[in-house]
């Protein structure tokens, strides 16, 4: 019996029980679509996060207040008790103490409402020092950057400018932040946005302006200090230098007693991606379980079909069907169910992956490998769970099969 005929016979058997076959296919389909989608979502989130972190700048070290160590848990609230000050940033700018750091900027962030005429818009206002543009890898679209000593100059992100004025070219206009009027001296070049941060919706003022006019008081603490290493190879040297300088300044004897944390961009990326990778594996595992259940569904339906068709099997054997032909007949049915579920499931998964990001605001990465792989897995599941029923059918003694009612 040729393969085309075996396939035709199998197709005939599937068509004879359309509803049952559709439900069996549905089991596989859901499993495959779930695997493709969860893996895609996991990889997409991983990609989003690493892009977010890379968008901060290049060759960056990020110093934040507070620390968490293995021995003592969390020391100092993360950003609550600000242990980093302007003085720390100024010390880190010293070429003598930290030769491998090329540029430094400190940031103090606060969410504020900006007003321009009738329009108002709430965004993150950052008071910054030093080489902010260079360290954060940003450029100006127009105008110039704020003077570090000024108390009434602001640079707007392009999106903030558009929200307030309806256009991006707004150098020379004024905005009011926390009751103080600021001149717009420049507008940033667009840097794009991602799921968690919008780099184009921001307002940058000098740290002086931030403390005097926006947050008020004489608080000299900053929320983050960014260090840019001279080049990629110098990152670990810069890390060591910055750490020992800050430990000395803060009077801490060892790294365990530090009240700050230094992260490199790489370590942030790898921590974040490893977290999301674990999550992806977990989700894919759950989706994989549903695929397993789908496979058991195939086996169940094949066993029912063998029992139902015992008499037919007996007759075919009496007419000269060798065990191999009977086995192939049932295996082919199982593979068709599996592959159909795989193809439709993959299609559904891809369609969902293309439509979901718009609804969820998070990327979904669908690799051809995942799609091809899951179709292959569906076929394998069909075959695997079809083997036992098929072997059972092939082993039926023709006489017992013919006698059955």
């Amino acid at each position: 019996m040729s393969w085309t005929e075996t396939a035709a016979t199998a197709w005939h058997a599937i068509r004879a029980h359309t509803m049952r076959s559709l439900l069996t296919v549905l089991g596989i389909l859901i499993g495959i679509a779930a695997v493709i989608l969860t893996v895609g979502l996991g990889l997409g989130t991983q990609k989003d996060v690493s892009e977010d972190i890379s968008a901060l700048g290049s060759n960056l070290l990020i110093v934040t207040p507070g620390s968490s160590t293995d021995s003592s848990g969390i020391r100092g609230g993360f950003g609550s008790a600000s242990t980093l000050t302007v003085a720390d940033a100024e010390a880190l700018a010293s070429q003598v103490a930290v030769p491998d750091v090329a540029a430094v900027t400190a940031e103090k962030e606060s969410s504020q409402s900006l007003e321009a005429g009738d329009a108002n818009w709430t965004t993150t206002v950052a008071g910054v020092t030093g080489d902010w543009l260079e360290v954060r890898s940003r450029e100006l679209a127009s105008g110039e950057f704020v003077d570090p000593a000024s108390t009434d100059e602001v640079v707007l992100g392009p999106e903030t400018a558009t929200e307030l004025f309806g256009r991006a070219d707004v150098v020379g206009r004024t905005v009011s932040i926390a009751g103080t009027t600021f001149d717009v001296v420049g507008v940033l070049e667009a840097a794009g946005s991602s799921a968690s941060t919008n780099l184009d919706d921001t307002a940058v003022v000098s740290l002086t302006a931030m403390t005097s006019a926006v947050t008020g008081g004489t608080d000299t603490s900053v929320s983050t200090i960014y260090l840019k290493a001279t080049d990629t190879d110098a990152i670990s040297a810069a890390y060591q230098e910055a750490q020992s300088l800050l430990l000395a300044l803060h009077g801490a004897s060892s790294a365990d007693a530090a009240d700050f944390t230094i992260d490199s961009q790489d370590s942030l990326v790898s921590t974040a991606t490893s977290v999301y990778r674990t999550l992806t594996v977990l989700l894919a595992g759950v989706a994989g379980l549903s695929l397993l259940v789908g496979g058991i569904g195939v086996m169940n339906i094949m066993l029912v079909s063998v029992t139902e068709r015992t008499r037919e099997i007996g007759l075919r054997k009496a007419l000269g069907a060798p065990p191999g032909a009977i086995r192939r007949q049932f295996l082919t049915v199982a593979s068709i169910l599996g592959v159909t579920g795989g193809l439709v499931g993959a299609l559904l998964g891809v369609v969902a992956a293309l439509t979901l990001p718009a609804a969820l605001g998070s990327s979904v990465v669908v690799s051809p490998l995942a799609v091809g792989g899951s179709i292959a897995v569906a076929l394998a599941i069909g075959l695997l769970f079809g083997v036992y029923p098929a072997v059972r059918a092939a082993r039926l003694a023709p006489i017992d099969a013919l006698r059955s009612e």
Partner: protein, 249 residues
């Protein structure tokens, strides 16, 4: 033995090579069924030889062992002890795949329940033995159509079994039994489910097949049916009790 072989030799040139050997050669055939602790001897030492071209009826009451005998002759069941040579080949030496090809090439079955596949047309049902023999589709269709024409159903090839009367279904089954040109046609109570007119049709068909030189073994418990054959073998309690030629009326 020689006489009967030569008598049909001209009618079946395709199998001339094995013409000098009996189609069925059963020696001291025993079959014991076991169900838990219970043992039941269905065959208790049967010797039976059937030559090429014979038309033999095996008769006996139910429980006599004639169905077991039929299953053994059709290679659907194996013996507990004894030997069975089909067209000279010892069946005990064969595995399931060999047996499948023996059933396919040497034997044509006609069952009491017709055993047609309900989802296939008459033509496809008749084609089945050729499918498993690996005959090309076009040739298969031609031969199946010819076989259906021989049983008088040339105009019913596209009908499914459900659209045919019992007599017509059994004629489709006969067409299926002869489409592969087997050495032996085994008919197990072929008229058991038929009315008298259809019974006559099917028996006429078997007569015609016999006239063409085919070997026919018919299992029945009906006296009138048995009388249509040329030799009646009576089975009782797993043994052959009589074996006599029928005197043509």
């Amino acid at each position: 033995m020689t006489a009967s072989a030569t008598a049909v030799g001209h009618a079946d040139p395709a199998t001339a090579a094995g013409a000098d050997r009996p189609v069925i050669d059963l020696r001291d055939a025993r079959k014991t069924y076991r169900t838990g602790d219970l043992e039941f001897e269905a065959l208790r030492g049967v010797d039976l030889r059937i030559e090429r071209g014979e038309y033999v009826a095996i008769v006996g009451p139910s429980g006599s062992g004639k169905s077991t005998l039929m299953n053994v002759l059709g290679c659907l069941d194996t013996l507990t002890s004894g030997t069975y040579r089909l067209a000279g080949d010892d069946v005990a030496d064969m595995d399931e795949t060999d047996l499948a090809s023996v059933r396919n090439e040497q034997i044509g079955f006609v069952f009491q329940q017709f055993n047609l596949l309900p989802s296939l047309s008459a033509l496809h049902n008749v084609e089945l033995p050729l499918v498993y023999r690996g005959v090309a589709p076009a040739e298969r269709r031609d031969r199946a159509a010819q076989a259906l024409a021989r049983v008088g159903l040339a105009d019913r090839t596209a009908n499914r079994p459900g659209q045919l009367s019992g007599g017509q279904q059994q004629r489709v089954a006969v067409a299926r039994a002869l489409v592969g040109e087997p050495a032996l046609v085994l008919a197990d109570e072929p008229t058991g489910n038929l009315d008298s007119r259809s019974t006559a049709d099917v028996l006429d068909l078997l007569d015609a097949l016999h006239a063409q030189g085919r070997t026919i073994v018919l299992i029945t418990h009906e006296h009138e049916v048995a009388q249509r054959s040329r030799r009646v073998v009576r089975v009782l309690d797993g043994l052959v009790t009589s074996d006599e030629q029928v005197v043509a009326a």
